[in-house]
Every structure is written in C-alpha cells, then in structure tokens.
Subunit: 251 residues, 2 copies
Amino acid sequence: PTRIIGVALSKGGVGKTTTAVNLSAGLALGGYEVLLVDTDTQGQSSYSLGVKPKAGLVELITEELSPEECVFKARDRLFLLAGGKSLAGVKRLIDRKDFGGELTFRESLACMEGKYDFIIVDTSPGWDALTVSVLFYAKEILTPLSLEVMSLQGLTEFMKSLAGIRKYREEVSLRYILPTFLDGRVKQSQKILVDLKKIYAEQLCTPIRNNVRISEAPAYGKTIYEYAPGSPGAQDYRDLIRRVTNNTKLF
Amino acid sequence: PTRIIGVALSKGGVGKTTTAVNLSAGLALGGYEVLLVDTDTQGQSSYSLGVKPKAGLVELITEELSPEECVFKARDRLFLLAGGKSLAGVKRLIDRKDFGGELTFRESLACMEGKYDFIIVDTSPGWDALTVSVLFYAKEILTPLSLEVMSLQGLTEFMKSLAGIRKYREEVSLRYILPTFLDGRVKQSQKILVDLKKIYAEQLCTPIRNNVRISEAPAYGKTIYEYAPGSPGAQDYRDLIRRVTNNTKLF
Ligand SMILES: Nc1ncnc2c1ncn2[C@@H]1O[C@H](COP(=O)(O)OP(=O)(O)OP(=O)(O)O)[C@@H](O)[C@H]1O
Ligand SMILES: Nc1ncnc2c1ncn2[C@@H]1O[C@H](COP(=O)(O)OP(=O)(O)OP(=O)(O)O)[C@@H](O)[C@H]1O
Ligand SMILES: [Mg+2]
Ligand SMILES: [Mg+2]
C-alpha cells in the first residue's frame, strides 16, 4: 500500500519544504516511486527542484486537466504535483462548501494511490482549510522543528489542533519529529533537544544539522544530494531516509 | 495621524513576529502610544510578550465585545489586540462574503485610529483572506527578510501579490525591507545583502544580526530590551526604531 506522509507544522520557516523535497528525492534515489504534493501557496517545492510545471494540484482538484496531465516528472522515480498562488482559490472553494470540505483533498488524490510507494505532502505554514484537508488525507505526519522556543510553542499548538482532527479521524498520527538547524555552538538548541527526547522519545529522529549547503542548494534547483553529496546536510537526510524506510542498508 | 505599519512576508520564519513585537515595544519605550495587532492564527505576539489576554481581534471583528474590552495593556504605552487559533473562523467569514471581504479589517479597526501614534500589524505566513485584508488596511509595509535564497524567492512572489493589491489601493507601499539573521560567518548572506542594496537601496534598513538572545527572549515573555538590553539584537532593533521614527536622537 502507498504510504502517505504529510510534512507539517503551523510554525513558519522550520524546514518543511527542505525536508519534503530532500525526503522525496532521497526515497526516489533509494529506488522507491514517489509523488511529492505541494499544497503551499508559495509553491517552493518546484523552485527547490528547479522545475516549472505548467499544471499541478489546482488543475487536479478543479478537474481542469486529467491526473496524468497534472503530474510532472521531476527526477527518476520522483513525480511532482506543483503548488503555488492559485491554491488560494482552492481554500476559498473549500471554505464555501457547506459540508465535506475537509475531504476535498482525499477525493482528488484517490486516483494517485497504488501508483506510488510514497506520497509526500508539503504543507504551508499557518492553519487553514487546506491544512485541515491534508490532515484528513495523510496517515503519517512528519514535523520538522527548529530548536527554538517559538517553534516549541508552535508544536504545542499544533499538537492540540492535531488532537482535534484525530477525534474525527484516528488514522492520522504524528509519526516523526525531525529536529532541524541543530547548531553545535548554540547551548539553547542542545537543551531543547534534551527536553524533546524526554517527551517525544519514540518519534524523535536524528537531527538535521545547520548546514549552509542546504540553504544554497535551492538557488541551483538541486537537491542536497545533487548539490553537496558529501555535506553534513546530505548525510543527515540520508539518515532520515533509512529511518523512514526502516532500511539501514540504504546508501 | 496614526501610522499603520503591516509587518508582512508570505515566507515563514523570517522574523515577522520578532520584529512586530520589538518594533512595537521599542516605539513604546521611545514615548509613542502603540497598538500591536496580531492577525496570525499562531498568536505568537502574546506569547512573546508573556501575556494571556482573554479577548482580542476576533471579539473585535465579530463585535462580541466592545473595543475597550478587546484591547489588552501589555506594557506602558503598548497595547495589544491578540491573535490566535480562533482567527481561522474569521478567514472563513471573509471567504464567505460575496463582496467587500477585503475591507473587513479596515472597518473593524476604524475605531482605533487617532488613539495611537502607531498601529503595528503582525501577519501570518502564507497568503489568505486575512493577509489581503491587512494589505487593504496598512499604509506602510515592513518586510523582514532572512538572507537566504528561499526567502528571496518568497520576496519576489510577495512583491507580485502586493503589486496586484496596489492596483486597487495605491496608498499601500513597501516602505522598509529589514534583513534579519545576518551572520558574519556565512558568505551567502553577505552576497545576498549586496544584491538587495542594488535593487532596494531606498527601503533597505540596517540588518538585524543573528543573535541567540533574540530567540531566547520569548521563553521569558520579554522583549529584547528587557531580556538583554546590551545585546547586538537590542542595539539593532533600536536602530530600526530610529529609522522608523526618523529620530536619530532616540535612546
Ligand atoms: N538544516 C538546515 N541548515 C541550514 N539551512 C536550512 C536548513 N533547513 C532549511 N534551511 C533553510 O532555512 C530556510 C527555511 O526552510 P524551509 O523553507 O524549508 O522552511 P519551511 O518550513 O518550508 O518554510 P515555510 O513555513 O515558509 O513554508 C530556507 O532558506 C532553507 O534553505
Ligand atoms: N535576528 C535573530 N537572531 C536569532 N534568532 C532570531 C532572530 N530573529 C528571529 N529569531 C528567531 O527565529 C525564529 C523565527 O522568528 P519569528 O517567529 O519572529 O518569524 P516569523 O516570520 O514571525 O515566523 P512565522 O512565519 O511562523 O510567523 C524564532 O525562533 C525567533 O526567536
Ligand atoms: Mg515551505
Ligand atoms: Mg510570526
């Protein structure tokens, strides 16, 4: 069966898109068939992969084009349903529905299941109709978390909201918490990591270190494996792939 | 007349809340009467100031309470209209209006003008009905920008959206671009700063340096001036206050 992982946290700038792109690309390099779905009005997944698809998620939801025409092949075994500004219209569409708005996404993407080993969903920061609809679709949630108190506060709020969703849909659960921007020099981030280990021991992944190569790669439209294969960033994201696939021999 | 400054950029995690809070608090310390309005569903302005108001912007927009009951005194001369999760309902309210949704905010806040020297509006990341409504209210936009390519891409998209708004409302303009997280060690951030100076020379403010004190202060519910008055963060935000007030003798 297809594993559907939503990369989500209402807090902005914690590494959602970076993680969704490098997780998807890493899984594809590992031999899995992957669909990356960008539900953010910023549409930064396409930018990060250096591609400019002419259609994407909006055309799929509005049924303007067939599913085959909406999906863009970004790399070997890595397919993309692009996001972008026109998704703002989809939010309005969902808000105007009198009932069942939260199922919009699930209905539109039903045709994609079975074709891929993984469907990875990048979400926008904040909390709106589209975020809710993704949480009614994904089965596993991966939350990137920068090691700062404002993000921890964001996590607390997000967990409350997720608990609200789970009352209606038990299948969705927080599966992975991925610390990002770990900076050996900053005392605070080490202390926060220790606190996280106490509360979320089961979900906590090996952190992604603060690595300038990661923030440079999108300028060239490359994944971290293509831009700086030997960097700490590439090593840390390979660790994540091994964790998510439960395959320690990968790479 | 009251100056209305929206702190906005669709990109997440660039320092919008940090800037809105420390700009507001700094102006209040400088003797100005200030209202800080938090339009983000994350409601992190209250958290950063260490206060837990019982009412805020939602109760003002829905007219559940009088304006006096919605405004919370956070510090001397610093008043807060708190944000938070229930703002998600306001977005739905705006989306369901058949016309004039974009004026919701302006109508609700009309009663606040004249009482304050500055109204500073913190916005959420992303692009939705609430963001648009703030852009139909604020006259000046201050955009914090972390010195990374993903944020630069976010700025390009945001400028396009702002240009769309200006067709309907000329009074709003991008007044200040505030580089944040300037890290002397990272070559890329220096290069991006040089590029910004070429394109946005007029709007570009003195950067806010990357300073761990800034990310620690919210844990104690303190502004940067209260938590670490001698830190580079406090110095850089005082520079911003002098620039915004055009008063070089302040502090
Ligand atoms: N481990 C890391 N080390 C250094 N830079 C990083 C790291 N992870 C992400 N970045 C950079 O930090 C910025 C924020 O990351 P990203 O855009 O992926 O976050 P996001 O949560 O998707 O943001 P948004 O909330 O706007 O969608 C980007 O410029 C990215 O390149
Ligand atoms: N100059 C700085 N130096 C170090 N840390 C900073 C600086 N400015 C902001 N921060 C920290 O970076 C994180 C992001 O800042 P902030 O929350 O203000 O951004 P934002 O744009 O409001 O995010 P969101 O998009 O989620 O609303 C916070 O943890 C904050 O404490
Ligand atoms: Mg993103
Ligand atoms: Mg904020």
